[in-house]
């Protein structure tokens, strides 16, 4: 675990979820979910559609009643103290609408006033960064520009925790990168960001840690870097002649597969020993590939399909 993350995680979590469960009648939305979000981190919340990401977020913000469990945000109860909590939490819903006949500027000012904030400096700054025309009526804006209005409203009151549900939906790739820069800037300034996504690349690009949810249950919570390490590396070697596979039966080597003279394996430790063993043979071709989050996610997703 890298040092700065250790420092962050020694602090009291900004958001502490314990045993959170939400049922819709007999249908389970999320089940027994435990998760901590620490100050200053960008946490990704990853899962396929319908996995329970939005339900988790909305249950934390008291938009949904919880069936069981406990959520503390800034040490306050998410449901009993929801009004107090919302003074310090910015939120971008995954699917939202606004007042169609009002100008974006008027909508944002109205929402700012609901938060008792009169300073509009940040509102204008964010609009400029995201290239958003505030003088257009909401109904006249494209899907991408409506999403920008949502992003501006989530950050404009300068709150300590910002919760984003699928924030880049509708943004073009250029704007997505501007948005990632914005996230990094906000994080540097001390904001805590909890962001759900099903876009693996964006979580890998901007998040410090990731939590993966599947069928309403949390599968893994890890730092992006250590998760990649744990997943190991994929070694593929094409030998001139056949090899004795027993030589690779060592600790940290998994899933050894043979296809003619081509051998592939997953190496999680003892890479040095494995390479030395490989070098004893004539090698035609060789590649060493680090697993990315994409493959990790697909691993979980395939298990999901298999089950």
């Amino acid at each position: 675990m890298i040092d700065w993350m250790v420092t962050k995680m020694e602090k009291e979590p900004v958001m502490k979820i314990r045993g959170l469960t939400k049922k819709y009648g007999d249908v389970i939305g999320i089940k027994d979910l435990d998760l901590d979000v620490y100050p200053g981190e960008i946490m990704g919340f990853l899962g396929p559609n319908g996995a329970g990401k939005t339900t988790t977020i909305r249950a934390c913000l008291a938009l949904l009643n919880k069936t069981a469990g406990d959520v503390k945000i800034f040490g306050l109860d998410s449901h009993k103290d929801s009004v107090e909590i919302r003074r310090d939490v910015g939120y971008l819903p995954g699917d939202f609408g606004m007042y169609p006949d009002m100008k974006a500027k008027a909508i944002l000012k109205y929402l700012l006033s609901q938060s008792d904030v009169s300073d509009t400096t940040k509102m204008y700054e964010l609009s400029e960064i995201l290239d958003l025309d505030l003088n257009k009526k909401y109904r006249e804006l494209s899907k991408g520009n409506r999403q920008k209005v949502g992003i501006v409203q989530a950050f404009m009151a300068d709150q300590d925790l910002v919760i984003l549900d699928e924030p880049t939906g509708g943004l073009d790739p250029l704007m997505q990168h501007k948005f990632y820069d914005l996230l990094r800037k906000e994080s540097r300034e001390g904001k805590t960001i909890f962001m759900s996504s099903h876009i693996l690349a964006e979580v890998e690009e901007v998040c410090d840690r990731v939590a993966i949810i599947r069928r309403g249950e949390l599968q893994v919570v890890e730092e992006i870097s250590s998760l990649q390490e744990k997943m190991g590396k994929k070694l593929e070697v094409e030998f001139r002649d056949g090899v004795d596979l027993d030589r690779f039966d060592m600790q940290g080597v998994e899933k050894v597969e043979v296809d003619g003279n081509r051998v592939s394996m997953i190496v999680t430790e003892n890479l040095d020993e494995v390479v030395k063993e490989v070098s004893k043979y004539d090698i035609m071709n060789m590649s060493l590939e680090t697993f990315n989050l994409d493959q990790l996610f697909l691993t979980y997703y395939r298990e999901d399909e298999g089950s």
Binding site: T54, R58, L61, A62, L63, L64, N65, S82, V83, E84, R86, R87, V89, G90, Y91, P93, G94, D95, F96, G97, M98, Y99, P100, M102, Y110, L111, S113, Q114, S115, D116, G150, Q153, A154
Partner: protein
């Protein structure tokens, strides 16, 4: 911030609310203006009716007309007369005509119609009708000139409103009470229910709730400010409409019967009733979360209240049901006839509106906000 939703509601809805306010004012003030025409007896509308005396023998059906007193003042005795008879007060095609009357009187029997019957259905009409409604026109003829004397009918009628409503409409207070009962309660009640329901359900349907409740606004505060803004608007609507009605009654010179404050109060005391309707509408809105269903339920509630009250008003046997209708507690009749406001009625409605509103808050706070 407290009060922002209140102001926002008024600001975002002012156009629609103002148009409705103008419509209500025009209808109410305009309606009062037709009072003189419905309060005058219908017979006076027949031209020259005062020149002819009419007598109907109920047993024989013989109708005697006499216009002798007209002759004494208006003309010399050299006249002879023509009498025309028809079923309607229009003599272009009379069903009976007699041109050789020399005396200023005429005795008519329905059987005389058959003597010069050109209408094959006439005998059937005469048999079917228990009391035949006939109109008589008398014209004086001297040499080449003709002079219209007048028209009368054998049926004593006051006016159509009296026949429909069983009231003689000599009292403008009764007339205003009917206005309130017949359509004011429905018009304003349905409109307020529609606006109240939509003020909440549109936030659900247009997916604004998540954004609204990402701000430090509690669900109770949200509903309270919606309720307050609608209540405030209703008070303004009633006040301005009441003022317009006072002006309208005054312009008729009828304020002698009623004081300005009585007319004003009679309408203002409906405010607690509308507060209950608004609270009820907010309750169905947060429960159903869909405009179509919630508006349907709110309208159903109002129609049921209205229908039960109306029927109970007409049938004495249903008098027991009246206390269970909200409309009963808007006692405008006591205000208009005795200038008395029942503090019990007003208090009951106010307490009920608070209870229903409290229930709406409870339902909203306990329910999930759909994504």
């Amino acid at each position: 911030m407290k009060g922002r939703t209140f102001l926002f509601e008024l600001r975002s809805r002012w156009k629609g609310l103002t148009i409705f306010l103008i419509i209500v004012i025009l209808l109410m003030a305009g309606y009062v203006q037709i009072f003189p025409s419905v309060s005058e007896p219908f017979d006076e509308d027949l031209e020259g009716a005062e020149n002819i005396e009419i007598e109907v023998d109920e047993e024989t059906g013989v109708i005697s007309l006499d216009w002798g007193h007209w002759e004494e003042t208006e003309a010399d005795p050299d006249h002879n007369y023509t009498v025309l008879v028809n079923f309607i007060p229009n003599m272009v095609q009379p069903i009976y005509r007699n041109e050789s009357i020399t005396e200023p009187r005429f005795v008519f029997h329905p059987s005389m119609l058959l003597e010069e019957d050109k209408n094959t259905d006439l005998s059937m009409i005469l048999e079917d009708e228990e009391e035949l409604e006939l109109y008589f026109a008398v014209v004086g003829v001297k040499e080449d000139s003709r002079e219209f004397i007048g028209m009368r009918s054998n049926v004593e009628r006051t006016n159509v409103f009296e026949e429909l409503m069983g009231t003689d409409w000599t009292d403008i207070g009764d007339f205003i009470a009917m206005l309130y009962n017949m359509w004011f309660i429905l018009l304003v009640g349905l409109y307020l229910a529609y606006v109240s329901v939509n003020s909440v359900t549109k936030d659900f349907e247009e997916r604004r709730m998540d954004i609204i409740f990402s701000t430090p606004l509690s669900r109770r505060q949200y509903l309270l400010e919606k309720f307050s803004s609608l209540g405030f608007y209703t008070f303004v609507l009633l006040s301005l409409t009441a003022l317009a009605m006072v002006g309208s009654v005054y312009s008729l010179g009828e304020l002698g019967q009623l004081s300005a404050s009585t007319v004003f109060l009679s309408l203002i005391v409906s405010w607690p009733l509308f507060l209950v309707l608004i609270a009820m509408s907010l309750l169905v809105a947060v429960y159903f979360k869909s405009s179509r269903t919630a508006v349907g339920m709110a309208f159903f509630f109002i129609f049921i209240q209205y229908a039960v009250h109306l029927v109970a008003d007409m049938a004495e046997t249903l008098e027991l049901v009246k206390p269970y209708t909200l409309i009963t507690y808007w006692d405008h009749s006591s205000v208009l006839s005795e200038s008395v406001v029942s503090s019990f009625d007003v208090g009951l409605l106010l307490v009920l509106s608070v209870l229903v509103f409290g229930f709406a808050v409870m339902v909203f706070e306990r329910s999930d906000i759909p994504a």
